[in-house]
């Protein structure tokens, strides 16, 4: 079962690479991604009452937390690969993309999904590192897929900054390995389960340095300040389905790595040091996002900075660290992925039909393209935390948990930042969506685009109203991080 999760995108990628490219191949990617979602659900259902599953001689391991992340990856990847059909159609029609390029795109997207799945299913912290580094390598070409000067610039910054970050994370991993070897160990000194079991014996000085490097290093890929500067460029320049995947899941897959290390650091150091570190990076991210969102003129960059804000919120939630907080963090990971995925996909359609990503030059979208404008508007509502969308529930619970553990002051600062961001995004959104129509008749949005996006928003609202399909899984996953 665990291997099947990885085989689906592998098969999808191989077929797209070997068979001469035609339009149907894009749908194959969607099928593979949907298969990942289904296997994620099956994994979750199997694991919640039972024990974690292992595969490949202990290299892969799936517990409730992994299963939850597989579901998140599967959902967002389904939406993104669905929209990829539209992206490739449009690029081919405009003559910007050859069949070879389209095939390369399909292969890389599947490889991207597979590396993320490997990261959340790795039992060994070294393999986790290898998988996250591989996501950087795979996505660089996807960011630069349009081959324009600015998209190549974005991919250069992306790979350079993320390589540095990931090197720091490797050093952190080596230090954890050193501490583990020093304790005397089982056969697998980098195995997460055995590290957690012996975490109280690990040398605190070394683990302190290691956890700081991990937060800084994987934090680069999460888009946490101070290593966030690649994010707005890469997310605004990548093709929309790739932006949706990067912003919706890749950031949180990197955060998943921090969560795994946090369990070890909590055991070795007690909760104070990890909490302080996460509060610092979380608040810095919120402050930077708030100040830069005010002046954005580009709607894709606006969405990108909004991701920095949400990663800051998630870091604060993880800092609180109680089971309530972690459950809220995980729900936020799913809700943010859905809302941000939908918004990036919608922004791709806006860019395609309007030809510009400047907010000023796309007025009155709601009256000119009612369906697309409506999707974008509801997506913004979801992202800003309006009920009934799930981000409302998760933000409320994260704040509650922060007050409970004595981080009330941090929660208050984050509320102030959220208020500023709320005002900024509402003002940008009003400019983009409202206004007089002019003389043209309203234009329709193809069902190919509208159906997955509306589906994503409905899903986000559904889990906000009723948590029952996820409740037991979230509960089990939260207790892995916060025992």
């Amino acid at each position: 079962m665990v291997i099947a999760v990885l085989l689906l995108p592998l098969a999808g990628g191989l077929v797209s690479g070997v068979v001469p490219w035609r339009r149907g191949i894009s749908w194959l990617g969607t099928a593979a991604a949907f298969g990942v979602f289904v296997t994620g659900v099956v994994l979750g259902v199997d694991i919640v009452p039972g024990k974690p599953m292992t595969a490949l001689g202990g290299v892969l391991r799936a517990d409730a937390l992994s299963a939850f992340m597989v579901i998140v990856i599967g959902v967002i990847a389904t939406l993104a690969t669905w929209q990829s059909v539209r992206y490739l159609d449009a690029e081919m029609a405009a003559g910007r993309c050859t069949r070879r390029h389209a095939a390369l795109y399909s292969v890389l997207v599947q490889a991207f999904v597979m590396t993320m799945l490997l990261a959340v299913l790795a039992a060994n912290l070294g393999v986790l590192w290898v998988a996250i580094e591989a996501t950087t390598v795979v996505t660089t070409f996807l960011v630069g897929h349009r081959q324009t000067r600015s998209s190549l610039e974005a991919s250069w910054k992306y790979i350079i900054i993320c390589s540095v970050g990931i090197a720091l994370a490797f050093l952190g991993t080596v230090l954890v390995y050193l501490a583990s070897l020093h304790v005397g160990h089982g056969p697998h000194p980098l195995d997460w389960t055995s590290l957690v079991a012996q975490s109280h014996q690990l040398n605190p000085g070394v683990i302190r340095l290691a956890f700081a490097l991990i937060v800084l290093g994987y934090g680069t890929k999460v888009g946490l300040v101070p290593m966030h500067s690649w994010l707005p460029d890469a997310h605004s320049q990548a093709p929309a389905p790739v932006s949706a995947l990067m912003s919706g899941v890749l950031l949180t897959v990197a955060f998943y790595a921090i969560l795994r290390f946090k369990v070890i650091a909590d055991g070795a150091l007690g909760p104070t040091f990890p909490r302080t570190l996460l509060v610092i990076v979380g608040l810095l991210s919120l402050l930077v996002a708030a100040s830069l969102l005010l002046t954005q003129r580009d709607y894709k960059r606006m969405l990108a900075y909004h991701s920095v804000e949400h990663m800051g919120l998630i870091a604060l939630g993880a800092a609180a660290g109680s089971p309530l907080a972690i459950a809220a963090v995980l729900l936020h990971i799913l809700g943010h992925g859905l809302a941000k995925g939908v918004l990036f996909l919608a922004s791709g359609e806006i860019l395609l039909t309007e030809g510009t990503s400047e907010i000023e030059r796309v007025p009155a979208l709601l009256s000119r393209r009612p369906v697309l404008g409506g999707i974008f508007g509801f997506g913004l509502f979801a992202l800003l935390g309006f009920p009934p969308f799930s981000l409302f529930v998760s933000e409320l619970n994260m704040l509650r948990a922060e007050f409970q553990v004595g981080l009330g002051w941090a929660a208050a600062v984050s509320l102030a930042c959220m208020a500023v961001i709320f005002a900024a995004v509402m003002s940008h959104g009003r400019h983009l969506l409202l206004g007089p129509r002019g003389t043209d008749a309203p234009a329709m949005t193809p069902a190919l685009v509208a159906v997955p996006l509306i589906g994503g928003l409905v899903g986000c609202a559904f889990i906000g109203v009723s948590a029952w399909p996820l409740e037991s899984l979230l509960h089990a996953a939260a207790h892995i991080v916060a025992p």
Binding site: W156, I160, L171
Partner: protein, 219 residues
């Protein structure tokens, strides 16, 4: 091998890694910088092999040979091709000039020794005492990344960071498990290939390999 030869060979090889990092900050010719990087890769391979011989660890000797092939041969060859395409293959105008860079290199070495005390106390071996050298090489890589403006110099900066971290890993823990080591080497190799392709595509768009012209994206 006897304990004293082990100590001196290991010390020499580790020092060579650091020296090469300093030389990359000193030289301006990109060709020379890439050759220095190859020497550094060979020194790193030597560290792994010597520790492997000392600890009778066949896996680590294999890793040493792997590092030799990847970091002393393949990677420098790949980058060298980019250098030859560039008509102006000199780092003419770094943000921090060469004498100041060398002073900074000295300061970074002190910093590395200060920062690794808690780690070094955990590894009371010959190798453990050399850990700060790896960290210093890594910090010099960061410095090159921040202050150099040619595409090739930035790739070299990334590799200096990577070699520094690898040196720490060999010295502190006799390398990471083989599976992880293989995955990590493959990732680095792929990253260099991606960077090479990107550098060539960028130079085609910009008309040069100078990254000063990367100014389209800002807030």
């Amino acid at each position: 091998m006897s304990a004293s030869t082990y100590t001196s060979v290991l010390g020499l090889a580790a020092a060579a890694v650091l020296l090469c990092a300093v030389v990359t900050l000193w030289r301006r010719s990109l060709g020379a910088i890439v050759r220095t990087l190859a020497v550094q890769g060979a020194a790193l391979a030597c560290v792994a092999t010597v520790i492997g011989l000392h600890e009778h660890d066949v896996g680590l000797i294999v890793v040493g040979l792997l590092v030799l092939g990847a970091k002393a041969l393949v990677v420098p060859l790949l980058i060298g091709r980019v250098v030859r395409r560039d008509p102006n293959s000199r780092e003419t105008d770094p943000l921090v000039n060469v004498p100041a860079s060398l002073v900074a290199a000295g300061a970074l070495t002190f910093l590395a020794f200060a920062a690794t005390r808690s780690v070094a106390s955990l590894v009371p071996t010959t190798a453990g005492r050399l850990i700060p050298i790896g960290l210093a090489a890594m910090l010099m890589g960061f410095f090159a990344l921040v202050t150099r403006r040619k595409a090739v110099s930035q790739i070299v900066g990334i590799l200096l960071v990577d070699n520094g971290v690898a040196l720490v890993a060999f010295l502190a823990t006799a390398g990471v498990p083989l599976l992880v080591e293989l995955g990590a080497s493959l990732d680095v190799l792929l990253a260099v290939i991606v960077l090479r392709v990107l550098a060539i595509q960028l130079s085609a768009r910009l008309g040069s390999f100078d990254l000063d012209q990367l100014t389209e994206l800002h807030d």
